[in-house]
Symmetry: C2
Subunit: 708 residues, 2 copies
């Protein structure tokens, strides 16, 4: 059996193991007791709301995917009238494979999202009721619920990549079909992340504005018609959206690494698969061993499992490298060590970026304290100082990404005497694979957040007592702290991935005859692309934020209507209930409408630039898009997190505490930060990946038809 075959089988085996672990954990969570009728009722509302959103989202997505399926069938990777000398079935096979692979990518990612939401809407109930028994069972319910999502995403990702690559590499000799798969995952992520992001913030902002600000009723008060939509939003935005986002980055990093490995030397293909598999295996171990003492610290529990995963990954990949070097290549494969070095460098820089993010958003550090102090002078100063620290926070991450890209390139450039540039880009792609290796663990930690956030709400709605509320508060706060680290990680990883995709794009374009030697920014066509590409993430995030704004206005109107029209609702008469579904409906429709505009804008501008300036302009376009996209994503995520924690810091009694002037200002900051950190910021990642993949897919068409 060939080395590739071994690698495929091991990858499949570990993927299945991860699925097994996910199933086991899902069962474990489901078996936990839940008996509170009120909570069961509310939870069923959340569940059905989330499913309504998913159903409608997937319906629109199906139409979109159907159109793209036909488009790909006709045009990609080459227009059907451009297939040359092929005969018979071979004339359509490449396009058909690409189109199918695209669909599979969408479906795999979609299924992972659905699984994640299903378990999250169960785990929140279990975590809430377990809170009456102590912090440990409540934590475990939340964490294992999140872990199901983590395992499902990474396993389906590795499974899909392995199957698609295995099925097509043999007869095509390239990884082009895999780019179709990656694009499928990406277009789903665009819907899930941007759509979910608009949904969740629409509901959150509207619920807060009418509930907390106008009527002074508490958060999660069941009288509020938007309260269920708010909880649904946590699930569709933070669980499903974030899962799809990281599925997308993960697939893209593997696709880029494989495209470059093929261009460089196919002997590296099994290594890519085994490194990715090692990451999944490490995450499985990390997730399975995660635990918290009876009176333990949830933040420490979450972080320590991340570090354990990182350590295991380090060892496992070293073992794989030893195997390749000394066993398979009989001690002549020193090049593998340079690749290993790149991967480890990627992972380490990921940790550093995560810590830097933490500094700028942690409520025990200077930035949060400064913004809280500034809030005493009013909301304008909350905003100004928050934006300033957000801008500052960009620096360590950008330099970090720059260093890991430069370092991994230099490490591997020397492994090929004839193609140092391709080898260097391959090193960057492996750094991205390294940074994303522990993504299973990252998703678990990240999905934990909204589950315990929901649990907190359920404890309140179900009147489970002060102690349980305190416990879920503690769990929720740990979720927020850990989120900062994982978010920094996710953006850093996306940054390296898209740099690798840029290399993959050039390699692809050249394989199709573009004859590129690089992207010289002194070439005016490339510079033109650069400027346009740089403007796109700004416009894209503006469209999403304006979408949230518009949508929230609609929902606020509906909340006002209900409070006015439903007798007894405002006073909380027994038996009177708001029409929760109306708010869910508004959030759903609006989110999908607004996201389509933003997504189409990004894609159409890419295509326009391609037809104007060809693949050269596209190269510049991608560079501008990546650089500004990273900058804005970091800025928006970090300043949003900073404002969120500032508000919590003030609420915990500083600068006058709740209700003070500073608190009001801090709430304004948090409201601005909400769409920053949960809608626009994280969606930019997806936007970059989408346009990178559109560029790779359309490369041949741009080579054929462009003005310059």
């Amino acid at each position: 059996m060939s080395k590739e075959m071994w690698a495929y089988l091991i990858a499949l085996a570990v993927s299945l193991l991860a699925i097994g672990v996910a199933v086991w954990m899902a069962r474990w969570v489901k078996k936990l007791k839940s008996e509170n009728a009120k909570i069961a009722y509310v939870s069923s509302l959340i569940k059905s709301g989330a499913n309504t959103f998913l159903k409608r989202e997937y319906t629109i997505l199906a139409v979109f995917a159907g159109i793209l399926f036909v488009f790909i069938l006709l045009f990609l990777p080459k227009p059907i009238w451009q297939v040359g000398d092929e005969v018979g079935v071979n004339r359509v096979l490449p396009n058909l494979a690409m189109a199918l692979s695209y669909l599979i990518g969408t479906i795999f990612s979609g299924i992972a999202g659905k699984i994640g939401i299903d378990i999250a809407t169960i785990a929140n109930v279990k975590s809430a009721e377990a809170a009456t028994k102590g912090i440990k069972p409540s934590f475990m319910a939340g964490f294992r619920g999140g872990a199901v999502m983590g395992m499902a995403v990474v396993a389906s990702c590795l499974l899909g990549v392995t199957l698609v690559f295995w099925a097509t590499y043999g007869w095509t000799g390239n990884a082009r079909v895999l780019i179709g798969f990656s694009f499928g995952a990406s277009s789903l992520a665009l819907f899930a992340k941007a759509g979910g992001g608009i949904f969740t913030k629409t509901a959150d902002i509207s619920a807060d504005l009418v509930g907390k600000v106008e009527l002074s009723i508490p958060e999660d008060d069941p009288r509020n018609p938007a309260v269920i939509a708010d909880n649904v939003g946590d699930n569709v935005g933070d669980v499903a959206g974030m899962g799809a986002d990281l599925f997308d980055s993960n697939v893209a990093s593997l696709a880029a690494a494989l495209v470059l490995a093929i261009a460089l030397d196919p002997k590296y293909i099994p290594l890519v698969f085994l490194f990715a598999t090692a990451g999944l295996l490490s995450s499985i171990i990390g997730v399975a061993t995660a635990n918290i003492g009876k009176h333990g610290n949830p933040t420490r529990a979450l972080n320590s499992s991340t570090y354990i995963t990182t350590g295991i990954y380090f060892v496992l990949t070293a073992v794989v490298t030893v195997l390749f070097d000394f066993v398979l290549d009989a001690g002549t494969g020193h090049s593998y060590w340079f690749i290993w070095g790149s991967t480890v460098l990627g992972l380490l820089v990921g940790v550093v970026i995560g810590l830097a993010t933490d500094y700028f958003t942690d409520d025990s550090r200077k930035p949060v304290h400064m913004v809280a102090t500034a809030s005493e002078s009013g909301p304008a100063f909350t905003i100004l100082s928050g934006i300033s620290y957000g801008f500052l926070s960009v620096f360590p991450a950008m330099v970090g990404i720059g260093i890991s890209a430069l370092g991994s390139y230099l490490l591997t450039a020397n492994i090929s005497a004839t193609m140092p540039a391709t080898a260097g880009m391959f090193g960057i792609s492996m750094a991205a694979v390294g940074m994303l290796s522990i993504v299973g663990m990252i998703i678990s930690n990240d999905a934990y957040g909204p589950i315990v956030d929901n649990a907190r709400g359920l404890v309140e709605m179900g009147n489970l007592g002060e102690e349980a509320l305190e416990i879920t508060d503690k769990l929720d706060s740990a979720g927020n702290t850990v989120k900062a680290v994982t978010k920094g990680f996710a953006i850093g990883a996306a940054g390296l991935t898209v740099i690798a995709l840029l290399g993959a794009f050039m390699s692809e374009a050249n394989a199709l005859g573009a004859g590129l030697t690089g992207f010289d920014v002194m070439d005016p066509v490339i510079f033109f692309g650069l400027l346009v590409g740089a403007a796109v993430p700004a416009v894209f995030s503006a469209l999403l934020m304006l979408g949230v704004n518009r949508n929230a206005q609609r929902m606020i109107k509906e909340i006002h209507r209900q409070f006015n029209d439903i007798p007894g609702l405002k006073d909380g008469q027994a038996g009177v209930e708001p029409e929760y579904d109306k708010c869910i409906d508004i959030a759903t429709k609006g989110a999908l409408k607004e996201l389509v505009v933003a997504g189409l804008f990004a894609i159409l501008v890419t295509i326009a630039v391609g037809f104007i300036g060809g693949v050269k302009a596209i190269g510049g376009f991608l560079v501008g898009n990546i650089v500004v996209g990273l900058l804005l994503a970091l800025f928006m995520s970090n300043s949003g997190g900073l404002w969120d924690n500032t508000k919590k810091y003030v609420e915990s009694g500083h600068h006058g505490g709740k209700g003070s002037f500073a608190h009001k200002a801090a709430v304004t900051g948090d409201t601005v930060g909400d769409p920053f950190k949960d809608t626009a910021g994280p969606s930019i990642n997806t936007q970059i990946t989408v346009v990178s993949l559109v560029s790779s897919l359309m490369a041949y068409i741009f080579i054929l038809y462009s003005i310059f």
Copy 2:
């Protein structure tokens, strides 16, 4: 006499003519009547405050310039131990010339700034008192006051460039010494724009916060200890700062064009001078003929003189081109027409960018209306929608700059068969010269703004009556409207200029033996530079905004102290006066302290990147810096302008008018927008130019000493 000599003489003659016009207009303004004692007193406070700031600024600058003088003498353009075979005085002459040229650049720009402030602090009084006689005399006083600044800046700029180039080109054969001159202008601009920007917003914000928000006393109320500092700020930030900024861009565009003309074909040198001269001549005519009917519309008067200037420039340069083509080159010089085309394209795109900026900030357009509507939901929505429109506004300008760069490159690339790339970059530099051609007019319009803004305050303090207040309000509002157009223009011009500087940098580095063929972003060293360079404008603006924040806190403390400690001040007892100078002192010291940190950060990171990655990394660094710098400058200037006009729109009676909930939200937006549009946004231009010039100057050192 050679063609160059003719061009130099014509440039000098027109510069002297402009100085003559400035002197005449200054006399005209001074001759206007002013007899109100109260106004005279307040105006003397403003004048002495502005001079205090200038004096302290220039003192620090002198130290800074002195250090740089020695540094240049030792190291630039080549370290003194690297002068090769030169003997005697020739061993030190290049460095000495560069160092002197640097000093002259600083001094020329400094003098222009001083002249501008002197006349502005006279014209505001004249304009205020003339307002009692009608709109026409008041407008003319404001406009001609501004025009003195416009003429002084452009004349001293052209004069300086001509003299330095004339004196050094003959024996050096290059324009390197001129880059020293440009750097001198730039480092002054950094002090004037960033320092003035911090000063003006410190005073503005503190005065508003304590005066309008806490104590509910009107704007410009003489009891407010910060009110004089606020008026001083208008002069040092908006008049002197903006003048220095455009002096800087103007010199840089000429320096870039001359560096590239020399590399391409020295026969284009006279053309560069004559095109720049044509711009100044057009501005002189535009300024001299500007007028307003008795009941006229000041906005129309300002805009129509801009369009007249543009038209005259179009014709004059066509005449120059005919002369070069048919008379001097006997009909064989068709290449001149392509250069003319680039220049005209630059100017036209400048106008389009100005109009796009206008759309996003004009209070009769959708963006202002939408932000005003959003304000009804509270300050968070004012901010979110303002940021969104600010992001959107980036698109037309970036695409416009991209198109003008691409178009002008393509127009001229074919004029040289052997060096099409250099010819293309020369085209871009001439587009920048074109965009900046009418800069005399632009500065006049821009300086008009703070003069009439001050006049409005003086009318209020001097109790000149409702009618005069209405007139100055109208003049002030016209200033704000026109400012949007001129700001878009200034940023667009800076954008093209720095692109041209990038070309000049490569040309310079190659002349010094770097052997660059371009900046390929697939080279990891260049990509590393790109990422770091992209982060710098964000950090730079963050440091400036945090500086404003810190400084405002200090001043607010002082205002509170005065209101508490000075008996009778709060009640406005006759004869009781606040200690205005204390506030001016705080603003001055703080501004200079904070600006040094931000400026040093940008310069030191540039140097660090140069020593790490050499000229290649610097190329990437500049590209990242330019692209993100333009993006952030446009975003911040436009969203700031948008919030300013939204506040005014609400105050004019919409959405509840003054004192309403929407108004409070709009005021928060305006406060956030103030440092955006008057401190950070416009300072980014200067930051980009400074690091571009530092890079050009240090090129040889980076070639000698770098890690990669």
